[in-house]
Symmetry: C2
Amino acid sequence: MKYIESKKNDEIKQLKKLALTKNIRKTGTYVVEGFHLVREADQYEQEFVKLLVTEKYTEDRLVKKYHDIAVSISEDVAKELSETKTPQGIFAVLKVNNTDKISAINGKWVMLDDVQDPGNVGTIIRTADAAGYDGVITSLDTADFYQPKVQRSMQGSQFHLPIYRMNINDAITLAKESDLTIYGSEVNDQAKPYNELAKKDKFALIMGNEAHGVSQDVLNQADENIYIPILGQAESLNVAVAAGVLMYGLQTL
Amino acid sequence: MKYIESKKNDEIKQLKKLALTKNIRKTGTYVVEGFHLVREADQYEQEFVKLLVTEKYTEDRLVKKYHDIAVSISEDVAKELSETKTPQGIFAVLKVNNTDKISAINGKWVMLDDVQDPGNVGTIIRTADAAGYDGVITSLDTADFYQPKVQRSMQGSQFHLPIYRMNINDAITLAKESDLTIYGSEVNDQAKPYNELAKKDKFALIMGNEAHGVSQDVLNQADENIYIPILGQAESLNVAVAAGVLMYGLQTL
């Protein structure tokens, strides 16, 4: 097994660049970190490009399975690649799933209209997974779900449900073609309280940007705009919390 | 008005130390940042110890009101004090409210059993504020709500509802003395689904540590342990999202 000791190694420098969307999209590869995620990537039959491990993992069953593409790295290199302060010392480079094209959607979907914070994007996708939604569509200006910071808060949900990235108007068209009800969400007590909606089996719930909410153009295309009643004195909710309240709220009507 | 230009000034060094709980508790003071929070602190009649502003705020009405304790600072000092990349340039040093002692609680409360992440703690308090809860109690090992990172995600909710910090067992005793139903939350499908509970007007909802959940000792003292059904393949929810789902879920039963 090849060994890389220096964090200045060219291969490591290239991998560091996969923190940026443009490099993820250019190379068609992204990095997952930690034993749990790497094992899930294997279980869910993702395409492995490379596996990088520190000494304590070199005898692991997983590493033996991928020995042709496995690379041994120093603790120093692990620290350089890691998003955490105390890296576990296992990283996989995976092929991006070719999920930018889709011809139809059905059931319950969440759509993100320019959500900026990677932690929020990952947390919303993880919640959609927990709440039994059928998939997530992110707009082109939403934080890319292959970014390391999104991966970290998503905790492997990309292996459990389909996630697409496309123009938000195309996503709405797709939903309307399958007769999904479009729910825009807003911080506006003129909208409809979510807990007064009729239960539906087919809908798309659209969550918006942290500062500006769902864009007016998108709200105009919605069948119903909904809100979470503010019962105290806070001005608004964190978007990932609001998404959780609405996703479970619509499931338990 | 006094002017501080260098970030190496002793007064600025002392203020930087207020990022740490031990120094907040020792001095009985903490820092809020940004015009919105400083204005809210004034509106909610908090005790100001100092107000630090860059040039653009020196003629502001608020600064004139506090001119006796106002200090002009350079952009360099503002950057040093700030939690953000682009500081607004206004900071207030406030007295910690003497809220460690309380003789009775009533209504709907949230209790945090060793929640570690400052962002989660702030977000949960903000959500409790939005969802119309009567107050929040944090255990002694929960991230201190006067920390700058908690302040940032809490967005001023400390001015809207009471927040106490005490031993979690004392908090449970206090709740039981006022006949509040104690709900422990867990990731365990043997517990009761939250949406099947009877509606109550008086309860304490306990949320737990990110890694270990609510401690077993605390769960043993609960009247009912509840969970959020996982309908998909995620293993768990982010604790701030789970708190939001439960807080609103219990309000809309």
